[in-house]
Subunit: 224 residues, 2 copies
Amino acid sequence: MPVTRAIAFDAFTTFDPGSVATRAEEVFPGRGAELAGAWRTRQFEYAWLRTLMGRYADFWQVTDEALVFTAALLKLELTADRRERLMQAFLELKAWPDARSALSALKRAGVSLAFLSNLTARMLDAAVKNSGLDGLFEPHLTTDLVRAYKPDPRAYQMGVDAFGVPREQIVFAAFGGWDAAGARAFGYRTFWVNRAGAPVERLSEAPDAIGTTLTDLVGFVSGV
Amino acid sequence: MPVTRAIAFDAFTTFDPGSVATRAEEVFPGRGAELAGAWRTRQFEYAWLRTLMGRYADFWQVTDEALVFTAALLKLELTADRRERLMQAFLELKAWPDARSALSALKRAGVSLAFLSNLTARMLDAAVKNSGLDGLFEPHLTTDLVRAYKPDPRAYQMGVDAFGVPREQIVFAAFGGWDAAGARAFGYRTFWVNRAGAPVERLSEAPDAIGTTLTDLVGFVSGV
């Protein structure tokens, strides 16, 4: 196996989005899971659709617009206060329990680490800070820099350009199965951190390996 | 208002996808709505993702792959026979009740009509034939011809190229709110046949007009 000199991470490999669903349940008791699921679906669909349409807007805006649509669809009364509290959840993300030790081990081994994410730099900064992960990551490769969301190849290309090492020495760590497929199509060795135990997406490309935590990723790049 | 010399239709403005949900309920009693909803979501997401990834496959394949994934996700046992029966529903689509009289009126008024659709020519041919709508439409503008799904501008461009009239004399009739946004971003006058009464998508572009049937579309192009 080629040596791994850099790893590009989707944000949710490291940060647990579950707090968004928890917030949704606090704001709309009894409807939280339904709202969080439909919101998340629309959030990503809007990102993909805007990229296809040539109408890029950053992920904070897309997230807010997806929320407004979803609340209307589900006939939930989205007051200004509720909207604010729900959006705020995306500035309060915290790391999964396995993240710190796995990321620290990779960093100590001399591997360059960076987020390659649809999230804005502000959203990523907040999550890093809330989780006490400062100092581990290179500057964020947010899709804002190229105004195209994953799985557009322009987004994945940021990793090659930023790390300055050959593509085959970079591993992409995906949270979504669709992102694993996109990264593999781009040409990255791809590790799917399949935390939800979801089936492999039927999207032409399969990940090189699958685990459930970042600890499993450490095993993959160590060849263990 | 500019004269309308041609109308490009999304397939589901004319054909009712409800029969797919009915079939899903026959095949998986008590789980039909859940399967049909999740299948439809993945079906369109796969089309968008494959276009972004540069991995086009036709809508028949995408539909089948979305079904296989969705059944695995929902832990439904998809035997070969069940898979065949569910897919077959996409070759048995029938027109909405208002379609024939509205389309005939437009045709008599000298307006050129064509489907501009993600569906394959085979799927569109079957639906036209099942519905007795032969003779009303110009050759299908399926995304297979350009290997890019809506809302990619390459897909909408087919209408301009095929009708041979200025873009402002073409109306795009959308079924999905996202498709209305995409067509409007491309530059078509856009009528949203919002049969489900859904909220407007928050996707940067709003349709020029909204109705609930093709009869309403006749009113729009007549300036009534």
